[in-house]
């Protein structure tokens, strides 16, 4: 293009610049120049033509390449976008997994292992408990990596499962347990599931094992055949074992049962007056029962016979008959026979007097039983109130967080009330019984006296 410009410039400005020497010269020169210029023009054109084709081809090629590259860019862009999305999801998944692992590592495993440690029997504790402790120490260690900790925990869990597996079939473990005397004895534990036994190596001590708060378990020794079989299993690994289906609950319940004396001793100081009342009232009641219920009454016909003998003036016979009667009627009848020759009023009088001597003798000490019946429940209540006051005072000192001491204190305080009622109810019944019996005896005596006097007064007419 620039070639054309140059050409035009030459064609235009040449006549202006060239001095007009002569036309011919000028014409030829022009001619030549024109030729020359044309020649150059042709050359230039052909040159241009020659250059134009490859250039155009090259241009086409470049354009195609540019398109290709643009496609490539698009594709790569897409790939990159996909990659970033995948990375996000992967990151989220990794986070989720991490959380799961943390939960297992920080919560599940420690909880499980703590439970496992707590549920270990005294037999397993020395070995397995040591493993749990070592694991806990390892968790505290600064140089341990997280994955190592996890691996240790999982390994321990596997061990615990293996331990449970072993218990299903039963196992023997060397160990130490406290004898009932409180000495530490070497021997071997036998554990099958939840059942635990212990036998010393010489077989002298064999029995069930009781969990205690202290470091070592306590042996509840068995007797006779059961002990022999436990010792045999401990020695040889074969044999039969006695089974406690309540898993020690029966023994615990049995341990809470106390003897009567222990029960009383728990009641506190007010038990003693109640016991004094009880002893005195019991002694009195026995004496009175014997005294009152051994009293016999004369047969109804005997009175008439005595009267008949008196009427026929057989004084001696009448007196013998009267003397043969059981007490207290005997005294009354003898007195009546002795005074039979006097006035009816006098006979009534002596009989009445004899009865008057009998009544206080029968009623004596009955009031002891009555007072016992009245005072024993009150004494029991007093003991209970005192016990509750004491319990509550102690609770103010030691705090009221645990209800157990409160409950046991109140239950011990109630012992006296129980005792008081146990004493009062029989005392009431006995007092009523004895009073009625005494009244009955007196009524019978009176009836006999009336019968006697009536018989005599009829004969006197």
């Amino acid at each position: 293009m620039r070639a054309f410009g140059l050409l035009f410039a030459i064609l235009f400005f040449l006549p202006l610049t060239a001095p007009a020497q002569n036309l011919e010269q000028i014409a030829t020169e022009r001619e030549a120049k024109l030729e020359n210029a044309l020649e150059r023009l042709r050359e230039l054109r052909s040159e241009i033509q020659a250059e134009q084709v490859p250039l155009a081809r090259e241009l086409n090629q470049k354009g195609a390449r540019a398109d290709e590259l643009a496609d490539e860019v698009d594709r790569v862009q897409r790939v990159r976008d996909n990659r970033s999305v995948e990375l996000e999801t992967l990151r989220a998944r990794v986070d989720g997994r991490q959380r799961q692992v943390d939960y297992v590592k920080r919560t599940l495993l420690p909880d499980y292992l703590a439970d496992y440690d707590a549920s270990l029997s005294p037999a397993e504790r020395p070995k397995a408990g040591e493993a749990v402790r070592a694991y806990n120490l390892f968790l505290e260690a600064p140089e341990a990596s997280e994955s190592e900790k996890l691996d240790r925990g999982l390994a321990l869990m596997q061990e615990s499962l293996a331990q449970v597996e072993a218990l299903l079939g039963g196992q023997r473990i060397e160990g130490q347990a406290l004898s009932p005397e409180g000495t530490l004895r070497d021997g071997s534990f036998i554990q099958i599931g939840p059942l635990l036994y212990f036998a010393t190596d010489d077989g002298a001590l064999a029995g069930l094992v009781e969990e205690t708060q202290s470091l070592n378990a306590r042996v509840l020794p068995l007797e006779g055949e059961a002990a022999q079989s436990v010792a045999q299993v401990a020695a040889t690994g074969r044999g039969e074992l006695p089974v406690d289906p309540s898993l020690g609950d029966a023994l615990a319940v049995d341990a809470t049962k106390d003897t009567f004396l222990e029960h009383l001793a728990k009641g506190g100081i007010w038990v003693y007056p109640i016991l004094v009342f009880a002893v005195v009232a019991t002694i009195v009641a026995i004496i009175k029962l014997v005294q009152v219920f051994t009293i016999r009454h004369p047969k109804p016909m005997v009175i008439h016979e005595i009267v008949k003998a008196l009427r026929e003036n057989r004084q001696k016979e009448a007196r013998e008959l009267a003397a043969a009667q059981p007490q207290p009627a005997r005294d009354m009848l003898i007195a009546a026979v002795d005074h039979a020759d006097e006035s009816i009023e006098m006979i009534e009088e002596v009989m009445y007097e004899s009865m008057l001597g009998t009544q206080p003798r029968l009623e004596r000490f009955l009031n002891v039983i009555a007072v016992t019946a009245a005072a024993a429940p009150l004494l029991g209540l007093l003991g209970t109130v005192t016990g509750i006051i004491k319990t509550f005072r102690l609770m103010t000192v030691f705090g009221a967080g645990d209800p157990k001491p409160l409950i046991s204190g109140i239950s011990e305080a109630l012992i006296t009330t129980e005792l008081g009622l146990v004493l009062a109810i029989p005392a009431l019944v006995l007092h009523a019984l004895l009073s009625r019996k005494v009244a009955g005896i007196m009524a019978y005596l009176e009836k006999s006296a009336v019968t006697f006097v009536n018989g005599l007064s009829r004969s006197a007419k």
Binding site: M346, E349, V371, A374, L379, L381, T391, F392, M395, T396
Partner: protein, 212 residues
């Protein structure tokens, strides 16, 4: 045992200070019960008839024993009576003289003895009420304050019982003595009737007009 008695003594000292306002009425009641009881007990225990054991005496002893108590008993006997009815009337008078005051006091004593535990219970109830009402507008360790309140409220019940139980035993003794006194009077009456009927008197009986 010695520690327990010590604690009981301590309690007894503490009781009067930590039982609340009802301890004062309880204290007054205690004094009242025991004054009445001892007065009554002395009245029956040292009554001349009981002292002379008249209910166990034979006729001869009643007639001649020189002891002062028996001399006083003899003054109750009417030697000039001629019929048993006369004697009966006379002894009804004697009974009326001695027994009703004693019986009245016994009834009264029984009532105030039962009042002891009731007064104590009243103290406990009012103590618990104040404890619970105090609980409503109190912040802090509630349970502890309730425990303290109840244990102090129970002290009055305990005191009422401690007062009443010995008094009951005493009352039973008094009633026993009173019955002895009744027997004594009955014994004297029988003796007097026999005298009146002149059974074992050598003097011949006065002829009485036969009753219709």
């Amino acid at each position: 045992m010695p520690t327990e008695t010590n604690s009981l003594l301590d309690q007894a000292v503490q009781i009067w200070t930590s039982g609340g306002w009802l301890m004062l009425p309880l204290l007054l009641l205690t004094v009242f019960i025991y004054l009445t009881a001892f007065d009554l007990f002395c009245r029956v225990q040292f009554h001349f008839l009981v002292r002379g054991k008249v209910h166990k005496r034979e006729a001869g002893e009643l007639a001649r024993d020189p002891r002062p108590a028996l001399k006083m008993a003899r003054e109750l006997v009417r030697f000039d009576a001629l019929t048993s009815d006369e004697v009966k009337r006379h002894f009804a008078e004697v009974r009326n003289e001695y027994l009703p005051p004693i019986d009245r006091r016994i009834r009264f004593l029984a009532i105030i003895i039962t009042a002891g535990p009731l007064l104590g219970l009243l103290g406990t109830v009012t103590g618990m009420l104040s404890t619970f009402s105090g609980m409503v507008d109190q912040i802090g360790n509630r349970f502890d304050s309730v425990v303290t309140g109840i244990s102090e409220a129970l002290i009055t019940t305990q005191t009422g019982l401690v007062i009443s139980i010995p008094a009951m035993v005493l009352l039973s003794l008094i009633i026993q003595r009173r019955n002895t006194l009744v027997h004594c009077i009955a014994r004297l009456e029988r003796y007097n009737v026999r005298l009146a009927l002149r059974s074992d008197c050598p003097v011949p009986k006065v002829k009485q007009s036969p009753k219709p």
